[in-house]
């Protein structure tokens, strides 16, 4: 097969995060090479920066959050997802261990300080969504941007925030260290049902600009193929398989916590690679507290192009 482009610049906002594990698997297992691709992975300080790189043209494709495609449609930037990588957002609302007696439900968070990775980010949206469901409003709590790494852990340890809406491995570190307990967990099927009442909610996806798809359909297909292979591999993989595959740097810090986090995350990866309509709607609902999105008319169908994953599923 002759690709339009064999060298692809790919952007990601935090490659070692388990959220983007399929990317690392595809890279390490050589799936990109098998498809005849030479992929250079650029790691950014956050999903928004990788998206900006895509719009600016410095990367060709991005593995990032699905909600970006909705946001970009509102902003008039033609961007489409072509493959679902994660089916659960993987965001967890965890509360400081000392508050175990006081906080039983989300409603008990009234008047407390909630750490989010960044104001306006998906972790913030997640918390807002939960609060609204529990009958609270944004004014009932205080959001504090604490980042996704050690800062988030430090903020919890020092008691500067009472709860945190965050991702792995932050959550596993906190919970595994006995410093926090989980209040709402979107890493599991049960949790998803409880929170969204939906089976899936597209989390990480592979997205790119419309013109890239138009100009490089074969390359896009090859990328989807490679990452789909990774999803298939993850379907059957054990945590040990994963640990054996990822670069050593990923678990060098604390192998036990990493393995634990992998175990928690394995169910979150997409099985089909397909963004379902229910999923799209759930994602939309999660964003509905953002005034800019709420007031805009969004064509959800335009956010995902299923042709590539359908083709990939066939062979």
């Amino acid at each position: 097969q002759d690709l339009e482009k064999t060298h692809v610049e790919l952007g990601v906002g935090g490659k070692p995060l388990l959220y983007y594990l399929p990317l690392t698997i595809a890279e390490q297992k050589g799936f990109f090479k098998e498809e005849g691709l030479d992929v250079n992975i650029n790691d950014f300080a956050g999903g928004s920066k990788s998206l900006q790189a895509l719009v600016g043209g410095s990367v060709d494709v991005v593995t990032g959050a699905y909600e970006h495609t909705i946001r970009m449609q509102v902003k008039g930037q033609p961007i489409k997802a072509v493959l679902e990588l994660g089916r659960y957002p993987g965001i967890v609302l965890a509360v400081r261990e000392e508050l175990k007696d006081k906080v039983k439900t989300v409603a008990d968070l009234k008047g407390m300080k909630i750490g989010v990775t960044a104001p306006g980010s998906s972790t913030n949206n997640f918390a807002t969504y939960l609060l609204h469901k529990a009958g609270l409003t944004d004014e009932d709590v205080a959001y504090i941007g604490v980042g996704g790494g050690a800062t988030a852990v430090a903020a919890m340890l020092r008691g500067e925030v009472d709860a945190t809406s965050n991702l792995d491995p932050t959550i596993s570190t906190l919970v595994g260290g006995g410093n926090a307990f989980v209040l709402a967990d979107s890493r599991t099927e049960a949790g998803m049902k409880e929170i969204f009442g939906a089976e899936t909610l597209p989390a990480a996806v592979l997205y790119t600009r419309d013109d890239f798809i138009k100009e490089n359909p074969k390359t896009t297909q090859a990328l989807v193929n490679a990452l789909y292979k990774a999803l298939r591999w993850l379907e059957t993989a054990t945590p040990e398989d994963v640990v054996a595959t990822v670069p050593e740097e990923y678990y060098q810090g604390d192998p036990a916590i990493y393995a634990e986090a992998v175990k928690n995350s394995l169910p979150t990866y997409s099985r089909t690679g397909l963004v379902t309509e229910d999923g799209e709607k759930a994602a939309m609902e999660l964003l509905s507290f953002d005034p800019e999105i709420a007031s805009a008319k969004v064509d959800l169908a335009a956010t995902f192009d299923p042709t590539f994953i359908e083709a990939a599923g066939k062979n």
Binding site: K75, G120, I144, R158, D290
Partner: protein
């Protein structure tokens, strides 16, 4: 070249900048797209409108206050530390020689990476931002003071010593005034860095401040918000710098002013 001409020219330059920005982002080129992508640069009118709105509605004041406070604290603490340690090092050759590589190494540590440690030590309130700003300001001031002291005219120094000054008095009457222009030169850079430190700190984790607002805007790809935040920052730092310049003019009256009229044989 009087003050009014200069002010006029300054305004012209500023306007020119806005005009280029405006036309660059709004007038489509032959290929149908504007020259400057408004997705990254917004448009000046939007930015001004947003800034106006923020001030009119008053939401910005609280954030401005937080950032200003952090900046001023970082600036003061950083420069005082830089001046004190700079003088101290300059006067103690041994201390200076021994700690020299460590100071330089500390200066080279990326502050962004240190942010979690600052958050750990100083919490998420203003103090972790102040600490970040201090680490930037300190080094600029420190190196300049250190050098400034070394540049003291040897004859003036010898004279002062013969007049009987002890080390403290030398510091007060010779080293400090002589190093003044170095200190002020570094303060101009520092004002900017104090603000950078505060904003970056807020950007990395906080609940208020201009950096927080910029981060928030960035998170939802609201470039107009980002640029409006930067505009406010800019205006603010110019204000503070004007104050530094005013103090400078007062303290450096003893210098020959216009070069042509002072060539005292």
């Amino acid at each position: 070249m009087n003050r009014r001409t200069i002010l006029l020219l300054q305004i012209l330059v500023g306007l020119g900048f806005f005009v280029i920005w405006h036309f660059g982002t709004t007038v489509p080129m032959p290929n149908g797209k504007p020259l400057i992508n408004p997705f990254f640069f917004s448009t000046p009118l939007d930015v001004l409108a947003r800034t106006w709105k923020d001030f009119a509605s008053g939401v910005i004041w609280r954030h401005l206050y937080v950032t200003a406070l952090e900046m001023v604290l970082a600036f003061i603490i950083g420069s005082v530390l830089g001046i004190v340690v700079g003088f101290w090092f300059a006067r103690r050759a041994l201390t200076a020689a021994v700690f020299d590589p460590y100071v330089k190494a500390a200066n080279a540590l990326p502050r962004v990476v240190l942010a979690p440690i600052f958050a750990l030590w100083f919490g998420l309130g203003i103090w972790s931002k102040v600490a970040l700003g201090v680490t930037l300001v300190f080094f600029v001031v420190f190196f300049n003071v250190y050098q400034g002291v070394k540049e003291v005219s040897p004859t003036v120094l010898a004279n002062a010593r013969m007049l009987g000054m002890n080390n403290r008095q030398l510091l007060r009457h010779v080293y400090m005034p002589s190093a003044m222009s170095w200190v002020f030169s570094s303060l101009h850079t520092s004002v900017g860095f104090a603000l950078v430190g505060a904003v970056v700190g807020e950007y990395l984790g906080s609940s208020a401040g201009l950096g927080y607002r910029i981060a928030q805007a960035e998170g939802v790809f609201d470039v107009t918000g980002v640029f409006s935040g930067m505009l406010v920052l800019t205006a603010f730092v110019i204000l503070v710098d004007l104050m530094v310049s005013a103090v400078e003019r007062r303290l450096l009256v003893w210098r020959p002013s216009a070069p042509t009229s002072t060539a005292q044989g």
